[in-house]
């Protein structure tokens, strides 16, 4: 490396004698190009950010994607409608329930099938529990990025229970394929709702630990406040969604503003609020605001789960659908509020058994685009904090 630097050193760095008495030295050295990834502890997967640094200062950044590209969209054009469902688990593997839900809703929009109310409520419970789990990982691993190891394990303690709840209802812990087109795969086992209620109670007790241990920790605040500021205009221009826009102070949540399933009803009941960052610790739209939004959202999800448990009805859990699904010709775009933002599915059918186009609009993919603009000017340590605060899942950026 020594040689490489010397060779590329611009002439101005050499000694230059202007006159007999004085010598000017330009001590600036050329920038260092450094590969942040593909295998790096802070990229949360195989992503590469090519960074140009001047010492500790990042002067340029360019994300490189595609290391985890698994052709999800191409597969969608080659398998039957229902067969594609397991592939949806795999893009945002931290929020598989939400992915199942997004795809199912998109196909249902074409089918026009009636979803039983019990199925809808179970869907919401699963999606919200999954949101809690996803935010726990996001917040925990963010702590890891900042250098705090312990909150990560605290978060995983609760997530473990959440996953075992899912294991009880569908048999899988990560890739559920539980929410199906037309409803959910099966009814909840006996005692499951009671356990979910217990989970909610325990989670409410444990939640303050995250706040005390990490969120309001002075070092954490110093590391994240005023770092990676995304302004309101920038958030809109880059098409950010979910926690990223709420972290920039935009009061927007698809669950409330473009309700799907019965989120509108729950909102009218006043069961949940939308936490919107106010820039308490620094500038509005900094990393701290985004993590604050995530932590607060966990509690709101608990409230939604509680509402669903209180309003649970008996009945079937899946609508009447033929074994081999033929979807009427047409096209539909359905966006839902995934833990990371708007997960859109754009499906096109020609009336056959296989879709013509299955487009996945991944929130991580869109949220990541902002990196190129907000990374330059930060320190290397800040770069880690900023990448962590966008809460990407590389499985989804690359699909």
């Amino acid at each position: 490396m020594a040689n490489e630097v010397t060779k590329t050193m611009p002439p101005s760095t050499r000694l230059r004698r202007t006159d007999a008495s004085e010598v000017t030295v330009d001590i600036r050295t050329p920038d260092l190009e450094i590969n942040f990834g593909p295998q790096h502890p802070a990229t949360h997967g195989v992503m590469r950010v090519l960074m140009r640094t001047d010492g500790e200062l990042v002067t340029g950044a360019q994300p490189h994607l595609g290391y985890l590209h698994r052709c999800a969209e191409k597969i969608g054009e080659n398998v039957e409608w229902l067969q594609y469902l397991p592939y949806t688990d795999r893009y945002d593997y931290l929020a598989s329930m939400n992915n199942n839900l997004g795809y199912s809703l998109a196909v249902e929009a074409l089918l026009g099938v009636e979803i039983p109310r019990r199925a809808t409520l179970i869907r919401i419970i699963c999606a919200e529990l999954n949101r809690i789990g996803s935010h726990l990982v996001a917040f925990g691993t963010y702590g890891l990025d900042i250098g705090a190891f312990t909150p990560f394990l605290y978060c995983f303690r609760e997530r473990e229970w959440m996953m075992s709840l899912f294991e009880k209802i569908c048999g899988a812990r990560l890739t559920y394929s539980y929410i199906r087109i037309g409803g959910v795969f099966n009814d909840a086992p006996p005692g499951w709702f009671e356990e979910v209620a217990r989970f909610c109670d325990v989670f409410e007790q444990k939640w303050p630990e995250y706040v005390d241990l990490l969120l309001v920790n002075q070092i954490y605040v110093k590391r994240t406040a005023n770092v990676g500021v995304i302004s309101r205009e920038m958030a809109l221009d880059f098409g950010l969604s979910g926690t990223m826009v709420r972290g920039s102070g935009i009061d927007w949540d698809l669950r409330r503003d473009m309700p799907y399933m019965c989120y509108g009803e729950i909102w009218r009941d006043g069961a949940y609020k939308i936490p919107v960052a106010k820039g308490e610790m620094g500038t509005l739209g900094d990393c701290w605001d985004r993590s604050w939004v995530r932590v607060m959202e966990m509690m709101e999800s608990i409230k939604i789960v509680r509402w669903c448990l209180d309003h649970m009805v008996d009945g079937p859990v899946i609508g009447e659908l033929p074994k081999t699904l033929k979807v009427p010709a047409g096209e539909a775009y359905v966006g839902i509020e995934n833990p990371r933002g708007e997960l859109g599915h754009y499906v096109v059918s020609d009336g056959g058994k296989v879709s013509v186009r299955t487009r996945v609009r991944g929130p991580s993919f869109c949220n990541l685009a902002v990196l190129e603009d907000i990374l330059p000017g930060s320190l290397v340590g800040d770069a880690v904090a900023i990448i962590g605060s966008t809460d990407i899942v590389v499985g989804e950026t690359d699909r």
Partner: protein
């Protein structure tokens, strides 16, 4: 605003490139072949005018589409002569969406980039470029994004043939 309201407004402001609207309909009982159309309503726009069209949508104070949610393309079939460009706009202020479709000939798939209007479209256009072979004129950084730089062919086109090998790695 519902779709009809948006459409009326688009006509009223003479949005550039607006061709017509396409709304879902029931199957015509008299025509056996017609199966109707399901899903969302959308507007059809001239591809060359798309950038100006979305700019009009963004800047109009009653439409106020602040966000470009998605930009993608679709290859409807192997024999089709045209690709579709599908754009989803979203207004946070008025809580409405607009789906836009434009047609691009497969053999001359080139259109102006939307990046000057919405920077959100930057990565979406790169993806369309590598997957469908669409050239976005004026795109600031038209590299491949998900595929390797030397990938041959456009995978999401229906006439794409799967490669036998890639740099000595068998794909079969």
């Amino acid at each position: 605003m519902d779709f009809q309201g948006i459409l009326d407004r688009l006509v009223a402001i003479r949005a550039p490139g607006l061709v017509k609207s396409d709304e879902p309909r029931k199957a015509d009982p008299k025509d056996k072949k017609d199966k109707g159309r399901a899903g969302d309503p959308f507007v059809i726009v001239e591809a060359r005018e798309l950038a100006e069209f979305v700019r009009a949508c963004r800047d109009d104070d009653r439409l106020h589409f602040e966000q470009l949610v998605d930009l993608t393309a679709t290859d409807p079939s192997k024999d089709a002569a045209e690709l579709w460009i599908n754009v989803q706009l979203l207004s946070l202020k008025f809580r409405h969406r607009l789906a836009i479709k434009a047609f691009l000939p497969k053999n001359a798939a080139s259109m102006p980039s939307l990046v000057p209007v919405y920077r959100a479209s930057q990565w979406h256009e790169r993806e369309c470029g590598e997957m469908f072979g669409i050239r976005f004129e004026g795109h600031p950084d038209p590299r491949n994004i998900l595929l390797p730089d030397d990938w041959a062919g456009y995978p999401l086109r229906k006439d794409y043939e799967f490669p036998k090998e890639y740099h000595g790695i068998s794909c079969e």
